[in-house]
Symmetry: C2
Subunit: 226 residues, 2 copies
């Protein structure tokens, strides 16, 4: 079998598992975010800031994916939410099977919100659905305003774009609105946030929106259960 064919087979097998995950998590009432970005855009910091603001009102788990090291799970756990590391052992993305393996032990007391921190990579995670409700793409100011145009499959796969590190705007040659404009050329209906996880700027809008999506999902579930 050729490499491309094998890759296609692996992706289609992953899609089957991701669909099963999605159905299962919907039944359990768990909302799942798949957070993707370059290394160093601030995924872990966005998760920490989100955890601080939501930990008192819902049960939250963070799955942090890395090819090596367990640092991120420790960083997140300091904020009083559950955190589990997924170490891929070299692979440049998570897949549906890895995620479900870590969630299965909790099936009898499911979480309200699971945030999956994917491996820092703007290429490989794009075609791998994990069964999430939302794929959130994080791009930091200063990475280059043309990044969305360079990694279009990742933009196309995402529903939300969070532009992070807006506190750096005056020190780097970067315009957050140009990042957004370039991303919207690829995906016009992106939901967009501009935040600084360092100063807290813009985080309120992100949290309010996330809460409204969680409420919406609970509503859908309640209707389905009659």
């Amino acid at each position: 079998m050729k490499r491309v064919e094998l890759e296609k087979k692996v992706i289609s097998e992953n899609e089957r598992l991701a669909r099963a995950n999605r159905e299962k998590y919907a039944k359990e009432g768990t909302f799942v975010l798949n957070l993707v970005s370059s290394p160093g855009s601030g995924k872990t910091m966005l998760i920490e800031e989100t955890a601080k603001r939501l930990r008192d009102e819902l049960r939250m788990l963070v799955l942090t994916g890395d090819i090596m090291t367990e640092n991120d799970a420790r960083r997140v756990a300091r904020h009083g939410v559950d955190a589990v590391q997924i170490t891929t052992g070299g692979a440049c993305h998570l897949d549906a099977k890895m995620v479900d393996k870590k969630l299965t032990p909790y099936k009898d007391r499911p979480f309200d919100l699971v945030i999956v921190e994917n491996v820092g990579n703007l290429v490989c995670p794009a075609p791998y659905d994990l069964g999430e409700d939302l794929k959130v793409l994080l791009i930091a100011v200063g990475e280059g305003d043309d990044k969305p145009l360079k990694y279009p499959p990742m933009v196309a796969a995402s529903e939300v774009l969070v532009v992070n590190k807006t506190d750096l705007v005056e020190y780097v040659d970067s315009d957050p609105d140009a990042i957004i404009e370039n991303a919207m050329r690829i995906k016009p209906d992106l939901t967009v946030f501009k935040v600084s996880c360092k100063t807290g700027d813009g985080l309120e809008e992100w949290i309010e929106w996330l809460k409204s999506r969680l409420a919406e999902k609970r509503q859908t579930r309640a209707s389905a259960q009659g």
Copy 2:
């Protein structure tokens, strides 16, 4: 054939081609750099600054790798050096075959220096030798001082570490020396530079070192030819 076995086969076939490239470029007197980093660490800018400083003393070609878009080759060509884009069409790294295909048309008038800008990715390019003389890893201040520990295969595969964006040190929670220390835990004999492509700080040391490596290679070649 399993996916891992196939990947190994692809890598070992690539190694054979990379060795052939290396021998050929040595004979032609071409020094080849393979520049790797996250998206947005400043590879293109380091190449632009290097081109400006070396274009008058040597024949230089830049191969810019991206999964899509041709922006980088255009950016580099403004500085009066040859620049050719390699678009991988989705693949998250360059390989020896792609590079040689772009260099073959120049075989009768070889370059002194070829800088290959790999796809922005800290995972996939690590096991793919292109036939380069040197793999140079670029990490920007602010990406997270633990990045070398998270991507050890890339650090281990590199001979040089360039820490970029030192002009941002006072605005981000980052210590360039911590990045270097973490990298040296994985690869103790790394050659290290701290630069700001924006202010020019540290670039002189980088250029002087590069020139000394080029001279060394020319010397070796002259001896070999008797």
